[in-house]
């Protein structure tokens, strides 16, 4: 167990330092890059806060679409990637061109993309 501050607390203080002290002290391209750096820390903070929940949700969605066993696999990122590649093959094969599979796929992808945006932009819907 690491001591406090937590990873979230450390990220937040560095982000604040960048926004409040570094950005106003710089000009031109370096000011712009310092602002981008602060935004990147916000992305990391949101990703850390959401933990593995998004990846687990994506796996559940993929397992339902591809009729797989929904039990969480040992290598979750590897399994999600492999299932997404299977999805690409089915799309290329025309299976998602119409019908209930397309509807289920679009609903699944909406959840996945919204989760990505919740991390990258901090949006929630």
């Amino acid at each position: 167990m690491n001591d406090r501050p937590s990873a979230e607390e450390l990220l937040a203080v560095v982000e604040r330092f960048l926004r409040e002290d570094v950005v106003p002290a710089l000009e031109g391209p370096r000011r712009f890059h310092a602002r981008v750096a602060a935004n990147v820390l916000s992305i990391v903070a949101r990703e850390v806060a959401r933990g593995d929940a998004d990846l687990s949700d994506e796996w559940q969605g993929l397992a339902a679409l591809l009729e797989r066993n929904p039990a969480p696999p040992a290598d979750l990122p590897g399994a999600v990637r492999e299932a997404n590649e299977e999805l690409l093959r089915r799309i290329r094969g025309g299976e998602a061109d119409a019908g209930p599979f397309r509807e289920a796929l679009l609903a699944h992808l909406r959840r996945v993309v919204d989760a990505k945006l919740a991390v990258s932009l901090g949006t929630s819907r």
């Binding site: 890059h33 981008v36 990147v40 690409l88 799309i91 998602a96 679009l106 993309v113 919204d114």
Partner: protein, 339 residues
């Protein structure tokens, strides 16, 4: 070549072209932007007059086709003749021995280029009112440039790499780029490719297409548009491509209007058609806007690869990889709405 040597080289070149042996260069400094091409600001004096200039130069040692610089120069000149606001060009030089790499010189147009300022600064309230109409009317003039103009012969070759020859081929080009560069599977982009191919406009009109027509490539002032920049992606293709790209969500920077966050598609199309542009079919425009999102996804993926491959350790390039979800969300909305 150090900046002082570059300044001397430019002064010698101007002296040779003008016959004024006293020609001189001052205030040479590198401008930001343009990773693949260098931009330098300078003040040059010849025939007793000082002019604010910009030097556009290939990075020395870059493997590439020196004729590209000549083509950009020719495009700026023909665009200027067609009534498009562009920086006036002076001289182009393909000989790499003069300044280490091919270059050209053009006038420096003062003004702002940062889209967020256009959207948010009070100083640009008037510009926000007029720029959508201006951008439409200017685009109509760009599309009057004769693609068969002798100086633009290389545009046809450029079309094959940079813009495709038909809408379908453009989709194919982008899809190949995504497949070769994306490090993760992207089911949304795979679905988008099929949607785009199925609905691609058939044999379209052939115009000179700017290829990167968006607010970020415009110099503007409080009164509106001053110059259209960055012609390096110009090609021959469907003119509606430029309208669709201008409306792509990534160039709105959070503003409400489809056109760079400041205006509506309807206003843009009205101004374009009124200034002599071809009639715009809303479905074709929507298709090119969708294709624009598909291309933006490729741009973010390829830019982040420059970071991920260890070529440039830039925090900005790194951050762009996570932006891929934005055009994906837009494409998904289009897929959902057309279901």
């Amino acid at each position: 070549m150090k900046p002082e040597e570059l300044a001397e080289g430019i002064a010698r070149f101007i002296a040779e072209r003008t016959g004024d042996t006293a020609a001189r260069v001052a205030g040479l400094r590198r401008l930001t932007g343009g990773a693949s091409r260098e931009l330098w600001s300078l003040d040059a004096t010849w025939d007793g007059e000082t002019r604010a200039l910009v030097l556009r130069r290939d990075p020395p040692g870059r493997e590439g086709d020196s004729s590209e610089r000549g083509l950009e120069f020719a495009l700026l000149r023909t665009a200027g003749e067609a009534g498009v606001p562009v920086p006036a060009v002076h001289w182009s030089c393909d000989d790499p021995n003069v300044l280490d790499s091919p270059f050209f010189l053009m006038d420096r147009v003062d003004g702002e280029t940062i889209p967020r300022r256009l959207l948010r600064d009070d100083a640009y309230a008037g510009a926000r009112e007029v720029m959508t109409g201006q951008l439409g009317a200017i685009l109509a003039r760009i599309h009057t440039i004769d693609p068969d103009h002798p100086e633009l012969a290389r545009l046809h070759a450029a079309g094959q790499e940079q813009g495709g020859i038909s809408p379908r081929e453009e989709v194919g080009r982008i899809a190949v780029g995504i497949r070769s560069l994306a490090l993760e599977p992207h089911p949304v982009l795979e679905l988008a490719e099929r949607w785009l191919l199925e609905r691609a406009p058939e044999d379209s009109r052939r115009s000179v297409v700017h290829g990167d027509y968006r607010v970020g490539n415009v110099i503007f002032g409080e009164e509106g548009v001053r110059a259209i920049l960055d012609w390096e992606l110009a090609h021959v293709g469907d003119p509606i491509e430029d309208l669709g790209w201008l409306c792509t969500k990534s160039w709105r920077f959070g503003g409400p209007g489809a056109v760079g966050g400041i205006g509506s598609r309807e206003e843009l199309v009205r101004a374009y058609e009124k200034a002599g542009g071809v009639p715009v079919d809303p479905e074709t425009l929507a298709w090119w806007e969708a294709c624009g999102n598909f291309k933006v996804a490729l741009v973010w993926i390829s830019q982040s690869r420059v970071f991920l491959d260890g070529r440039v350790p830039s925090v900005e390039l790194a951050s762009l990889g996570r932006r891929t979800a934005e055009p994906e969300a837009e494409l998904l909305r289009i897929l959902e709405e057309s279901a």
